[in-house]
């Protein structure tokens, strides 16, 4: 039950949180107010930003955090408001601290198996988790959730994740932790670099070479797997595109036919694993190296086709070229193709902002890809080289279609995928995770992060949403069952207490929220629900659904929950807010 004073307190909280309002002594637009003060050290940055940055509302700052990071929390949103969107993004792009570091090393593949499997051989037979550390993605999953929930380089990590959804490999068939680690660090290292470098890193990776069968691919009759998916999934797509992402000519005009795929397959022959592997069963083919995932693939001239090959974009591989020369020409042909800008633009927009961008939005981002530059609010991004990913990501995140709440279209937004749902809920509630339970939850919700079912990832860009004319990739793994399982994750995290940290283990964080900051609002259910709504999605719930949420929260009191009642109120509010469609579908 709310009193008049608590109602005005709630209104005050709203006003303080929103820079534009000037009541309750909270200060006017862009001014020094409680919001800035809440963000440690933000005041100084705010002072210099205020002269340049456009005023950014709490709703828009929250939206930017949803789009650009693993989830907003109160401190981050205040920081974005203080700096302005462009300056904040620029500063974020300078932070690149996260890497994958956990799990066993490459000794599992140096092992010569003379006395049995690696984990059965001393000293590894004494390690109870040898299998997990050397053969599974579990250590990397732990790094991922730890970094996503606690590390500051949020945009860098999101950029790497965007690439991970394009340049897909899977732990389902790559059974080496160190190999997966090397591969995903390769994406992490290039995530804010240049798309051409990503293409090269992936093409030279022995992990990708194994996954899509280009390692030891031989000129006599090469398989077509990597060649096809490099064109179809990693760079151009099968149909010719305009800069705005629409099909050239209005229907699918093929970019390549199967003969062209074969030209690429021949051009990409000639590579084997780097040296260092010790399992002779994996290098029976004369000239090949044994399975090994440290370093790049190396050349085997006898495997490499030396005929002239005609590629796309008017590029030819001259007769007698070496494998590295052919690779650079392959990359030239891809980077020169008109499809590359809109292909990358569309996928980046779908990952960060919306499943159904306007043609104009795609054009703007594709242009940033081609020019390698983007500028907003006087803040420059990119170095002018085609394919610069800072320019692309800035174009995606700072575009009016992403930023302006005035862009009101019923077709915007996207369904938050399970990984972002997990991290967003944790971060909003000041929580953290060491990822040790997240494999099971990922599997339940059909998105166990390093284990997509195929190179086509968990879902396709084009998945049709029944009842609409739109696409919604994340709907490709969403159904009645998973709808309820999202609530079961919230139940686990909130009412079951998540997973506790193991006290003896300094690396253990558990999977836990921290409700401390929100307890102070728990006495007033209206205020608590509004506060959590603002954290989660930047505005309060619509009136009709807001009241039942308040009623469910306000049920808890000292009589029915003893001294747990404030916690119960926070859990209930968090469950309903983070389980609401207002959160689940990012707008």
């Amino acid at each position: 039950m709310t009193t008049r004073s608590s109602r005005s307190r709630a209104a005050c909280l709203l006003a303080i949180a929103s820079v534009a309002l000037a009541s309750c002594g909270g200060g006017g637009g862009g001014g020094d107010n409680a919001t800035s003060a809440r963000a440690d050290g933000a005041r100084d940055r705010h002072a210099e930003g205020a002269t340049r940055a456009a005023t950014i509302s709490l709703a828009d700052a929250n939206r930017l955090a949803q789009q650009a990071t693993f989830g907003p929390n109160e401190a981050m949103v205040a920081d974005i408001q203080a700096r302005g969107a462009a300056a904040w993004l620029k500063a974020q792009m300078e932070l690149k601290t996260s890497r994958y570091t956990s799990g066993g090393d490459d000794s599992i593949d140096r092992h010569r198996d003379t006395k049995g499997a690696f984990c059965d051989t001393p000293p590894h037979d004494q390690e109870p988790d040898c299998w997990v550390r050397y053969r599974t993605p579990e250590p990397l999953r732990e790094d991922f959730f730890r970094n996503a929930t606690t590390q500051d380089d949020q945009v860098h990590q999101r950029a790497a994740l965007a690439l991970q959804h394009i340049f897909v490999i899977s732990s389902v068939t790559i059974l080496r932790t160190y190999g997966l680690r090397n591969y995903f660090n390769g994406l992490m290292d290039n995530a804010l670099g240049n798309y051409r470098d990503v293409l090269r890193t992936v093409a030279m990776s022995p992990v990708m070479g194994d996954y899509l069968n280009n390692v030891n691919n031989d000129k006599a009759a090469p398989n077509e797997n990597f060649a096809r998916e490099q064109l179809q999934l990693f760079s151009l797509g099968p149909c010719k595109l305009e800069m705005d992402g629409t099909l050239t000519g209005g229907s699918c005009q093929p970019v390549y036919d199967n003969d062209m795929v074969r030209e690429y397959a021949y051009a990409m022959t000639g590579w084997t694993f780097p040296p260092g592997g010790g399992d002779y069963r994996t290098c029976r083919l004369p000239g090949s190296n044994c399975q090994f995932y440290t370093g790049d693939m190396v050349v085997v001239p006898s495997f490499h086709d030396t005929n002239a090959r005609t590629l796309l974009s008017g590029v030819t591989v001259p007769a007698g070229s070496t494998a590295p020369q052919a690779l650079e020409l392959v990359l030239d042909s891809i980077m020169a193709h008109p499809n590359i800008g809109p292909f990358v633009a569309y996928r980046m927009i779908q990952h960060f902002v919306t499943s159904n961008p306007s043609k104009e939005y795609v054009t703007r981002v594709a242009t940033a890809f081609d020019k390698g530059r983007y500028s907003s609010d006087g803040v420059p991004f990119g170095n002018g080289t085609k394919g610069n990913l800072r320019a692309v990501i800035a174009a995606v995140l700072l575009d009016p279609e992403a930023r302006s709440s005035a862009y009101a279209s019923s077709t915007k937004g996207f369904l938050r995928d399970p990984i972002m749902f997990f991290t967003g809920t944790l971060r909003g509630l000041n929580g953290k995770s060491d990822g040790r339970n997240m494999g099971d939850w990922g599997e339940i919700l059909h998105e166990d992060i390093f284990s997509p079912p195929s190179v086509f990832d968990f879902y396709l860009p084009s998945y049709p949403v029944a009842g609409t004319d739109l696409v919604g990739p994340q709907f490709g793994i969403h159904n009645a069952n998973s709808a309820l399982d999202r609530l079961n994750f919230l139940n686990f995290l909130l009412f079951d207490g998540g997973a506790k940290a193991i006290k003896k283990d300094p690396n253990s964080l558990g999977t836990q929220i921290d409700d401390t900051a929100f307890l102070s609002s728990a006495d007033d259910p209206d205020a608590l629900v509004d506060r959590l709504s603002l954290v989660a999605f930047g505005h309060v719930l619509p009136t009709v659904s807001r009241q039942p949420v308040i009623d469910a929260v306000g049920y808890w009191n000292e009589a029915n929950a003893k001294n747990e009642w404030r916690h119960k109120r926070v859990f209930t509010a968090a469950y309903l807010v983070y389980g609401s469609p207002n959160y689940e579908v990012q707008r």
């Binding site: 229907s251 996207f414 099971d440 079912p453 049920y555």
Partner: protein, 481 residues
């Protein structure tokens, strides 16, 4: 593409089930069992089920059903080279064809005339000769779009169209036109096959899993805190969102609560528990793992489907389409073992498929439902006739498939087996020196679907509405069922 296995190092099946139990799964014990006991005895007049099993990645049909007559076997072995199955390893269906040895569980159904094969079937817009294919301009609407691409070909098969941008599947459209109680029930994901204009496929988890929201189910409503939370959740999802994707999301959610109440106990039932069916459990028991659950993903999917068929009074409806998916068939390399061609990746996949299909058919017979249930396979595409130097095969087009059930006119083959000649009349290339052998289908997916839907009970007009390209082909229905 690769297969997703459900092994989880560090969390074996027993621990996983213990964990699921802790999370409030396995609620069967809390329900009124009498009301939900499976039917015994009388069949429901008019019930029929279609079960689609998709072999994702593109099954190599040539090593699945292989010619055994002397001249064609020689053609096959000559081109297949190191991938050719030895003739004496094949399981003869008749003097003309043999099955891959891993499909031993299916031979008896051929002999009982419940298993049929359909040759060289695939997506077409209209009948297409080799010369037409080679002379039509790239992107011509007369040729299906984006051939040889997994994702696009799956859409073509699942939608029975020539348009890779199709937004619905023929399973979905058939369900919609009949007004079935449920959309396609899927154990294998949200594939386009089951998508309709308004409904999404009903994707169910494996036996033993929770299908419901802890704390918000009917049995939880006696606690006021839960009732208030459920009321709030309902209010949140009743609210118009003003955003198409959000409204689609809330529609799925509202439906989820209703369906979960109806199906939760049946979904959660595991072999041997109070809700289980001995008829089904006996049929699948050879495939159980040490935790007492079906031990392969394909068996697990077909087990659940069998339960839903047996539980049709709970599932509702007298027409139901089901969908299952087995992944891993994209055998570009290491399709066969280098020491024994009858072993290896493909052999393992076919073993899983054949054993699961046989268990499913046994279950249907045990239930007395064999005449009412028809299973059929499909795949993205077949694979190249010639192998590559990675000991595998690449993406092709026309393929062969199975149909299984009591209503099938089995022990016979339908369609036309392709001519096993590189650059020959069935090849989409006329250049023997460069071709890998990819067959232009001589039977379209539309004809495959037409026969199944006719049996399923759709009228001619309904079939024409569901299969828009059917009119492009000569009249006449395949007679495998």
């Amino acid at each position: 593409m690769t297969n997703k296995h459900h092994d989880h190092p560090g969390l074996d099946d027993a621990s996983r089930r213990a964990w699921l139990r802790r999370c409030g799964v396995l609620m069967a014990s809390g329900m009124g069992l009498g009301a939900l006991a499976p039917l015994a005895g009388a069949k429901d007049a008019g019930y029929k089920a279609l079960v689609c099993i998709e072999l994702a990645g593109g099954n190599d049909g040539l090593n699945t059903i292989t010619p055994m007559d002397e001249s064609r076997y020689a053609q096959y072995a000559n081109v297949r080279g190191p991938l050719a199955l030895p003739k004496d390893a094949l399981l003869p269906l008749n003097s003309d064809y043999g099955l891959h040895p891993s499909l031993s569980a299916l031979v008896t159904y051929w002999q009982q005339q419940k298993l049929a094969t359909l040759f060289n079937v695939g997506p077409l817009h209209e009948p297409l000769t080799q010369q037409e294919y080679l002379s039509l301009p790239a992107g011509s609407p007369q040729v299906p779009g984006n051939l040889f691409s997994h994702s696009d070909q799956l859409v073509l098969w699942e939608s029975s169209t020539s348009d890779p941008m199709a937004r619905s599947g023929w399973g979905g459209r058939a369900s919609e036109i009949l007004g079935t109680a449920n959309p396609v029930i899927s154990l294998g994901g949200n594939s386009t096959f089951g998508v309709e204009s308004l409904r999404t496929p009903l994707v169910l988890p494996f036996a033993g899993a929770l299908f419901g929201a802890t704390g918000l189910m009917a049995k939880d409503m006696d606690k006021r805190a839960n009732a208030l939370r459920r009321a709030a959740m309902d209010a949140l999802h009743a609210q118009p969102q003003g955003l198409a994707l959000a409204d689609a999301y809330t529609a799925i959610h509202r439906d989820a609560f209703v369906v979960a109440e109806r199906l939760g106990a049946l979904v959660a039932s595991v072999p041997g528990d109070a809700l289980s069916s001995p008829a089904i459990d006996d049929a699948f028991s050879p495939l159980f793992d040490k935790s007492g659950l079906p031990g392969t993903p394909t068996a697990a999917q077909l087990y659940q489907i069998a339960k839903m068929i047996n539980g049709r009074q709970i599932v509702l409806g007298n027409r139901q389409i089901f969908y299952a998916r087995q992944g891993g068939y994209d055998t570009h390399s290491n399709q066969v073992d280098d020491e024994d061609v009858t072993q290896g990746t493909h052999a393992g996949l076919l073993r899983e498929l054949g054993d699961a299909l046989a268990a499913f058919q046994r279950a249907m017979e045990n239930l007395g439902m064999s005449d009412e249930v028809t299973a059929f396979t499909q795949a993205d595409f077949g694979r190249t006739f010639a192998s590559n130097t990675s000991r595998g095969t690449d993406h092709a087009w026309g393929n062969c498939h199975f149909i299984l059930g009591g209503a099938v006119h089995g022990g016979a083959s339908y369609g036309t087996y392709p001519q096993l000649v590189l650059g020959g009349q069935d090849d989409c290339s006329d250049d023997a020196s460069t071709s890998q052998g990819r067959w232009i289908p001589t039977t379209p997916v539309d004809k495959y679907a037409q026969a199944l839907l006719h049996w399923f009970g759709l009228s001619g007009d309904q079939i024409a509405a569901v299969l828009p390209n059917l009119a492009n082909f000569p009249a006449g229905r395949l007679k495998f069922i």
